[in-house]
């Protein structure tokens, strides 16, 4: 922690701290890159099936798809697989990248008891404690302060772990986000904040919701280290998140990364995204599609042929179809469990070392 009452140690102008660490990881091996490609393809395929299931009313409520942004979550997972993650409502891709199975994901969307959150959460609230996936949250920006607490706990226990906190460009206008940045830098917490700038806060394009469109500049006012990078190259995301992690664990404080990306679908399934300029989506998909770019790298740098790629995609298709079948055949939550999630059962004794006689209410 910063010593209290420490005077500013440098002029304000120099508070623009860029993440200057070089790429810390060796380049991806062929198998590693193929693994990232497969994970991105699986997320996309599961999301496509989710869209289909939504139109068949097998998935209800709100459903925000991650198609187009896959390289961000998958690249980040490649360098923070053992760390804590917390994210917003567009959480399907993050959950799967962090290790939630396609089955548990799809079953949660179908509202089944085998779902990641037992059918209690739904699309926006995927949780999996076993892989330190601390949830998706539906109040924009509100989970960002929680990342600080997760990091606080990790540091208190002297774990070599950061908390990776994902949120969108829209959340970077929320008060909770600004408060979280202030506290994270003040306490030098091991947090990697990742602003996934997909260009739109629901239907409002970035330039109409923020006077500053490089959202990493939000770090400057609190003296936080920052970097802006393009998000469609999964290998670049992997390296820069690794660098941010290294910085955050070094005790020098958190990092704000703005990772520029694009969502191919509307804000949610009910949004046809007609606010987009004509041709914008097609142009992004043509130039910056994470799957296409990684496929090209696999072929160019690692000599994979089309047959090898198609074999991977076939296995992805199978796994995604299996997730649907699993979700569909799983049991609904038991109505008898309706009241099971009001209070957590007490696991620590309230009375073990205590004489309660003085505390009992007087009988009248």
């Amino acid at each position: 922690m910063k010593p209290e009452s420490a005077p500013p140690d440098e002029p304000v102008e120099s508070l623009d701290r860029l993440l200057r660490l070089p790429d810390p990881l060796p380049p991806c091996t062929r198998d590693e890159l193929l693994g990232l490609y497969r994970q991105m393809a699986l997320i996309r395929r599961v999301e496509e099936l989710a869209a289909k299931a939504y139109t068949q009313r097998k998935i209800l409520g709100f459903c925000h798809l991650y198609i187009g942004q896959e390289s961000v979550a998958v690249g980040a997972a490649a360098s923070t697989s053992d760390d804590y993650w917390i994210t917003a409502y567009r959480d399907h891709g993050h959950a799967m990248a962090k290790g939630v199975s396609a089955r548990a994901m799809m079953a949660e969307l179908f509202g089944k008891r085998t779902g990641a959150s037992q059918g209690q959460g739904g699309s926006m609230h995927i949780f999996d404690k076993s892989v330190r996936f601390m949830g998706g949250y539906g109040i924009v920006g509100a989970h960002v302060p929680m990342a600080n607490g997760i990091a606080w706990a990790a540091r208190a226990r002297e774990e070599e772990r950061v908390c990776v906190c994902f949120f969108g460009d829209g959340a970077a206008n929320q008060g909770a986000f600004f408060e979280a940045l202030c506290l994270a830098e003040l306490y030098r917490l091991p947090v990697v904040f990742i602003c996934e700038n997909n260009g739109y806060a629901m239907g409002t394009p970035l330039h109409r919701q923020s006077a500053v469109t490089d959202m990493s500049l939000r770090a400057r006012g609190v003296g936080m280290t920052r970097e802006q990078l393009a998000g469609w190259d999964v290998q670049r995301v992997r390296q820069r998140v690794a660098a941010a992690r290294q910085h955050a664990l070094s005790g020098q404080g958190p990092v704000l990364l703005e990772i520029v990306t694009y969502r191919y679908r509307g804000h949610s399934m009910s949004d046809p995204a007609k606010y987009r300029p004509a041709g914008e989506l097609e142009q992004v998909r043509e130039r910056n599609d994470p799957l296409t770019l990684t496929r090209r790298d696999l072929q160019k740098d690692h000599g994979l042929d089309d047959a090898a790629i198609e074999a991977v995609l076939a296995s992805v298709e199978e796994e995604a179809d299996d997730s649907w079948a699993f979700a569909e055949s799983s049991a609904e939550p038991d109505p008898a469990t309706l009241y099971d999630f009001v209070y957590a059962p007490q696991t620590t004794s309230l009375a073990a070392d205590t004489d309660l006689s003085a505390a009992r209410p007087q009988e009248s």
């Binding site: 404690k129 949250y137 957590a344 009375a351």
Partner: protein, 339 residues
């Protein structure tokens, strides 16, 4: 048996729990170097250091959210609001995060934390520093809501709140931090959700909680002089609510008055009155009455301020009315200033 101020009883509870469990820490505005805005945490920084008694910037939403995250990750934070009035800029973290994460994670992440600070009427603090949040926080499943009227209960209840595996809203009062009371030297806990009969009686039941309990006891003493034996029950916990204690007392006395801070309209008293009438209807000899804040925002001037909250005179009037005695008791349906 030691005589402690309530602030000392609260401090003793926090100290003991921090010594017992290294995952407990205290965080809030001015809790460390300033020793607490109301000196509840006096000396704790010296004892526990900056990583466990933590000053924050003026950023309630930020540090309340930090507490929630730390609780998810296995700590037991005590988040102090300098007053619950300031919790409104952080209430999203209390209601949408702390109260809901156990449920929406399908029972994977519980939130063992305490939000605490002074609540309700103070003296001449004006409109924005006098709010009672009882009904707001009690509205939501997932939160526990606890309060006390003396040093004994403040100590025993806060210890239980810290050890509880769920988020607890712990409502204190700046007016009573200096109030002295006896607290046994031996450690004890008071389970959450147990009401306490403060004064037995047979003629009517007066339910209350927080610092109003002491005023109600004084009113009960006056009633006794008039030959009316009021049973005074301190609920101590609004969530969970000790319904059995309420129904048992009211079924016996057949009359009930609920006295609390906060407003009548959608107040906690409305909930209790509804439940009592539903469960004890056949035992009731009179309508359940409520004495609470009048339906106005808190004025500053003393002459006006004193008219807002519950008072001995208003409790006496309500008690007379449920006893069928002629009384100019106020009616819920009017805004008349009576008596």
């Amino acid at each position: 048996m030691a005589t402690l101020q309530i602030r000392e009883a609260l401090r003793r509870a926090m100290r003991e729990e921090m010594i017992r469990d290294p995952s407990v820490f205290l965080m809030g505005e001015e809790v460390a170097h300033y020793n607490g805005a109301y000196k509840v945490s006096q000396g704790m920084l010296e004892e526990f250091g900056e990583l466990r008694v933590v000053d924050t910037p003026i950023s309630e939403g930020g540090f309340a959210g930090l507490g929630v995250g730390a609780a998810m990750a296995g700590m037991r934070p005590i988040i102090e609001f300098m007053t619950w009035n300031f919790s409104f800029v952080a209430i999203d973290q209390v209601i949408n995060s702390a109260a809901k994460i156990w449920q929406m994670s399908g029972g994977q992440y519980n939130i063992p934390m305490v939000f605490r600070g002074p609540n309700g009427l103070a003296e001449n603090l004006g409109s924005q520093h006098s709010t009672a949040v009882d009904s707001i926080v009690a509205h939501f499943p997932g939160l526990k809501v606890v309060t006390y009227c003396d040093a004994h209960d403040a100590y025993g209840l806060l210890k239980s709140a810290i050890r509880d595996d769920n988020p607890v809203c712990f409502l204190e009062s700046e007016l009573t931090y200096g109030q002295k009371g006896e607290v046994p030297d031996q450690e004890f806990l008071i389970p959450l959700g147990q009401a306490k009969v403060r004064r037995p009686g047979k003629d009517l039941t007066i339910l209350s909680w927080g610092k109003q309990v002491l005023m109600v006891e004084a009113a009960a003493a006056k009633l006794a002089e008039q030959g009316i034996e009021a049973e005074v029950v301190d609920l101590r916990s609004l969530r969970p609510l000790d319904q059995e204690a309420i129904y048992a007392s009211v079924s016996r006395t057949r009359r009930c008055v609920v006295v609390h801070e906060g407003y009548l309209f959608a107040g906690v008293g409305a909930e209790i009155a509804a439940r009592v009438q539903e469960v004890c209807f056949d035992h009731l000899d009179a309508p359940v009455l409520r004495v609470a804040n009048r339906d106005i925002n808190q004025p500053y001037a003393t002459v006006l301020e004193k008219l807002v909250g519950p008072s001995i005179d208003r409790v006496l009037a309500a008690a007379h009315r449920v006893m069928g005695k002629a009384s100019p008791a106020e009616s819920t349906g009017t805004n008349a200033l009576t008596p």
